[in-house]
């Protein structure tokens, strides 16, 4: 199992989620994807997407004002 990092800082919604979808499709099952983002709406959209797809979220935290990181496992 390995960990991949997707940096989407500076991108507005829905692009962080669009890229997260494209990236998770390209990694092996069991791998983790760290998504760094600073689009406020993604704090709702990305965890919701992970839940809808049954991907476990192993970390979700703030990195500072208006910046977040979430780790989604491909299951």
């Amino acid at each position: 199992m390995s960990t991949h990092v997707l940096k989407t800082d500076g991108q507005v919604c829905p692009f962080p989620l669009v890229e997260a979808k494209a990236t998770i499709a390209a990694i092996p099952i069991g791998d983790e994807l760290v998504i760094d983002f600073d689009c406020t709406q993604a704090t709702e959209a990305i965890p919701q997407w992970a839940a809808d797809n049954g991907y476990p979220v192993t970390n979700f935290d703030r990195r500072g004002d208006a910046s977040w990181t979430i780790t989604v496992q491909k299951a």
Binding site: V12, P14, A51
Partner: protein, 352 residues
Amino acid sequence: MLLTGLVLGAALGFVLQRGRFCVTGAFRDVFVARKTTWLTAFVLVIAVQAVGVAALEGLGVISPASDPLPLGAVVVGSLIFGYSIVLAAGCATGTVYRSGEGLVGSWIALIFYGASAGAMKYGVFADLTTWARSQTVSLTTIHETLGISSWFLVAGLLAATLYAVHRHLSVPRRPVATLPPRRTGVAHVLLEKRWHPFATALVISVIAIAAWPLSTATGREAGLGITTPAADIATYVVTADTELIDWAVFLLVGIVLGSFIAAKASGEFRIRVPDATTVLRSIAGGIGMGVGAALAGGCTIGAAMVATAQFSWEGWLAFGFMLLGTGLAAKVYIINPSRAAAGDRAPALTNA
């Protein structure tokens, strides 16, 4: 009395920011994610507001006029508006409350939106707008056309919406990850907790209903609106014509203030400067929004959320064509972006 606009706007800005209520996202989700949760929340606002509007009309508190339908202007304007909100990454309210979050791209979109709406309403293109909106067909409201009381439509819409809400709520849901809480009690609920889309929609409905009597008391007989006040502010800045400052102007300023307060208090405010592509899209989106909303007779709020609650043909046609315009733009920019456009947005993937 104008200050009620500021207070109501601040409440709305707070709720929009904390509830992540984005109409562009609601419309876009239908095409991109094939999800209708947020669209259902949007229609819920219309349905609940329709009850309030019909009640206020019945009580004689308000008596809004419905003008004949400018068919061509509404269709063309709504398509342009729907397309543009994807470029601007937010509709009228979305752009306004994101400005309060510190997104410079939204500041740019908002400035161009106000300026182009001003040009279309009072400036060099005012004649064009007047001409386009004078090409009407003799339809006003749906209940007038059908010759029935508006209460039948209110009841029908409410029943259909509640059924859709019930269907969404009865889908078994997996737990959604949340941020580690830093606060407790009321502060946690107001500033941290994820608000359910339908709860957010209910609060917005109450604000939308309250807007009617508060605005009417100042002589502006209308509900929530964004385009005209944005045009008014832009025009006031260059003409100093104080006639333009009305209740809705205070409402708009209030939304920015309210979303700033919400974002600042919840640690979600930061000045975020966009890249060149986003700047260009914000400019194009802002101009398109102003042109589209001026022709259509309102934005996603004034036309698609407020005029619909009055069951005017104009509102429902605008809603439909804005949704269609958003779908077109979503296809071009999100679902099938060209390779060239995708190039500078390629995921920066690294192994950690």
